[in-house]
């Protein structure tokens, strides 16, 4: 009889988890490096995109851990340049999305990326409470989380002057609905665990 691989019984490697969760096949990559060559942030990244894929291909736990702890996954802008040029049509941005959430789940977020995570978090908490983005709230929350208190003080006055910042938050009517969406997703996640 043909036995099927069972995710529950097998301790899956990261690349298998990615395949299962996103449908993206890491093994398609043949290391041409085109993704890296086109990546606007390659200079900043600690692991270049093609090497990141190679590390996942190997299934070596140490390398997988390095990937999850890398700054690369947080620096990826999802500009989709790599995906649009990839000869093997590997959807790297999608894989990056997965790696980010996996990195958070395993508490392996790169220290240098904490600013970015903090920004994302405060962004979402603004959305959760307001329903829409509220720049002053966002920036204030972000700065409280990162202690970058003086960043952007130079643009804020001009923004206000040009009418680009709203002082009052743009509340939506059914804010509770949005909060509920966040809650249900959290519930779902916990169930899946």
């Amino acid at each position: 009889m043909h036995t099927e691989l069972n995710a529950e019984t097998l301790n899956l490697n990261l690349k298998h988890k990615i395949k299962k969760d996103t449908g993206e096949d890491i093994m398609l990559c043949y290391q041409c490096g085109k993704c890296t060559a086109g990546c606007p942030l390659n200079d900043e990244m600690d692991i270049s995109p093609n090497q990141l894929l190679r590390m996942l291909q190997t299934e070596i736990p140490d390398l997988e851990e390095k990937v999850l702890k890398s700054s690369t996954i947080w620096l990826c802008l999802s500009c989709e340049t790599c995906f649009s040029r990839c000869p093997k049509e590997v959807d790297l941005p999608k894989i990056m999305d997965y790696l980010r959430s996996e990195s958070m789940r395993q508490n392996s977020v790169n220290k240098k990326a904490s600013d970015i995570v903090a920004f994302h978090r405060s962004f979402l908490s603004t959305v959760k409470s307001v329903g829409r983005l509220y720049e002053i709230g966002l920036i204030a929350g972000y700065k409280a989380r990162t202690f970058h208190l003086l960043q952007d003080v130079n643009v804020a006055p001009t923004m206000l002057l040009n009418g680009k910042l709203k002082i009052k938050p743009p509340l939506i009517k059914n804010r509770s609905e949005i909060a509920k969406i966040f809650d249900r997703i959290k519930e779902l996640e916990e169930k899946e665990k």
Partner: protein, 301 residues
């Protein structure tokens, strides 16, 4: 004619002039942009960076609300919102299981029939056909059309023609008399999502873009994305500091440019709101060669 409208958060704040100019030019063509009642944030990069369900659920709610209001199409001027909304639209359309899950999460039953369109598609379909007849003020400028990432990528999803060298903005602005330039950075990334958290990255990426546009003798850069605009415009001072240069080229939304060509008032189009000042002489018709214009722009940054 009425059409659904999802302004997105930035058009309420940092990109107010985009909102104002889009509405102004739509008025000229007797198109009413009707806002989706009680729309919410699309979740942007933050949502899909952290949670894929959230990245679908947030845009899905707005899509569902639009459907309830009976819109077949929703204009989504912000390229980032458009990308999120369109991704949700096509994923939910092609994967019924996902749709079921999302309906459960947002607690709204819907069929995903309201299609998000971006501002270029909107202009191309509803404004471009009659644009020629309504031009009052020929634009005599060299223009670098900047697309950024999310209006053209991923090409598989968006099905954009010539995604590495798109021509849709160029075709539109040619009608206003403007001269589109062939340049190298029209689809390079400006650094968008890292605008606040990694300012230096933005300085570098956006700096390259502005530099190339100026090198090729562009008078202005036009964009169709509030993120690109804010990176190229609002961040100009720190870009200049980073590059140790004084780059003074204004960055306009395509809607503002069309507005000027239609003879609309600069203030109504929000041109006063820019960080890099847009000189009123820029749009004067007579006696200005494109070279002299760029010298005359008064920039205070």
């Amino acid at each position: 004619m009425k059409i659904g409208f999802y302004p997105g958060c930035s058009l309420e704040g940092t990109a107010r002039e985009y909102n104002e100019s889009l509405k102004e030019i739509s008025k000229v063509f007797k198109i009413e942009l009707e806002e989706i009642i009680d729309w919410n944030c699309c979740g942007a990069t933050a949502a899909h960076s952290l949670n894929k369900d959230l990245a679908l659920a947030l845009p899905a709610r707005s899509l569902a609300l639009a459907e309830k209001q009976g819109f077949n199409e929703i204009v989504v001027p912000c390229a980032a919102c458009y990308s999120r909304l369109f991704t949700a639209y096509s994923e939910l359309n092609s994967e019924p299981e996902k749709l079921e899950k999302i309906k459960e999460i947002i607690q709204i039953d819907f069929k995903v029939t309201s299609k998000p369109i971006n501002v270029l598609e909107f202009i191309n379909k509803y404004i471009k056909p009659d644009l020629k007849d309504k031009i009052k003020n020929k634009i005599n400028l060299n223009i670098a059309c900047y697309y950024g990432c999310l209006l053209v990528r991923p090409p598989k999803l968006l099905a954009v023609e010539r995604y590495e060298d798109p021509m849709i903005m160029e075709e539109i602005i040619k009608i206003t008399g403007a001269k589109p330039l062939d340049w190298a950075f029209k689809t390079e990334c400006c650094g968008a999502g890292l605008s606040v958290s990694k300012t230096d990255v933005v300085n570098k990426l956006s700096g390259k873009i502005i530099d190339d546009a100026i090198n090729r003798k562009a008078d202005i850069i036009i964009v169709a994305c509030p993120m690109c605009q804010s990176n190229l415009d609002m961040r100009r001072k720190s870009i200049n500091t980073y590059l140790n240069k004084k780059l003074d080229i204004p960055v306009l939304f395509i809607t503002q440019l069309i507005g000027k060509a239609l003879g609309l008032d600069s203030n109504k189009l929000g041109l006063q709101r820019h960080f890099v000042k847009v000189s009123p002489e820029l749009f004067m018709q007579k006696g200005i060669s494109s070279d002299s214009v760029s010298n005359k722009i008064g920039v205070e940054v």
